[in-house]
Amino acid sequence: MANETVEIFSDEEKDILQEIMNIAFGNATADLADVVDIYVKLSVPSVQVIEIGALPEYLRTTIKTDGTSNIIEQKFWGNFKGSGLLVFPGGTERDLMAILEDQDREDISNIQMAALEKGGLLEIGNILIGACVGKVSELLDTFVTYSPPQVLQGDTNNCNFLIEQFDPSQTAIVMKTLFNFKEKDINGFLLILTNHESIGWLRKALKNFMDSYE
């Protein structure tokens, strides 16, 4: 597996992508503060090249697939193409809702509350994934379009459904970053999975990016 990944994506390309993510996510947090009132701490992003066959195991071990996580998934399309996955621990829905701070929550039933919490998750997911993927795209001199985000229940079946969009003979680039909402003390992480179709374009875009630093 290791030999093949080297062929597909060199260490240098990984380093470039990692730095681009670092810049993109850092810039995104500053812009996020304009949109929602949160202070975000981000970890150093990591870039991994993973064979699709190994992806279920990776997701299973990375995301707690015991049904307690809140997973928001959003696909993006363009030269840069793939899925963003935002994972929050279970029980953080109310706190995340509080970030949005504008829901009229008087006198509503449990059914409505569940719908509101789901709506809140979707909106937070849409903004965070959009901010990070948008900034990466901007640095790579392209732009993407998005499908509506969806909330996945944190079980293994849903991860399988996610994996089905990849061709099992191929590889995915997985970018991961941990984040922490300071005031709310909510930890979560963001995964960006790009599929094989994007890799050719991505290599070119990374080269173009670095060419300006010759």
Binding site: E19, N22, T29
Partner: protein, 129 residues
């Protein structure tokens, strides 16, 4: 006069981006370190006029390294380079005694501007001696 510049960043790509954006016609000597601890060691060894410091790094991060370098030399000039430009992050960096902060990716113009400010500061320091 600035002679020596030390770039502290764990990402070789980030170091390269910064190195190539620093004007080449001034004859600066540019050194690199891959984490905070290495940065401190090289600072002691090379006595650079200015340090460009990344924040999130393994072994020892940029916050700790900046504080340590300022402890070694209270006049040390540390320019923090970071992509995280949230107001609260900037405030916490400036509290550490950083000279200024450059947003990543740093443009050549903003680097020149920062280095000019460093020159002025160095001049003042020399006059005060």
């Amino acid at each position: 006069m600035i002679n020596k510049i030390l770039i502290v960043d764990d990402s070789p790509v980030a170091r390269r981006m910064l190195r190539t954006s620093i004007p080449k016609d001034k004859g600066f000597e540019i050194f690199e370190a891959g984490n905070g601890q290495e940065g401190i060691d090289k600072f002691k060894e090379l006595k650079p006029d200015v340090v460009f410091m990344d924040l999130t790094m393994p072994v020892l991060d940029g916050y700790q390294a900046t504080a340590k370098i300022r402890e070694i030399d209270k006049n040390a000039i540390v320019i923090v380079t970071t992509a995280d430009i949230q107001p609260k992050s900037i405030a916490s960096v400036m509290e550490l005694g950083a000279f200024t902060l450059l947003k990543k990716p740093a443009k050549a113009e903003s680097i020149v501007e920062a280095l000019n400010k460093v020159e002025m500061k160095l001049k003042k320091l020399r006059e005060n001696k």
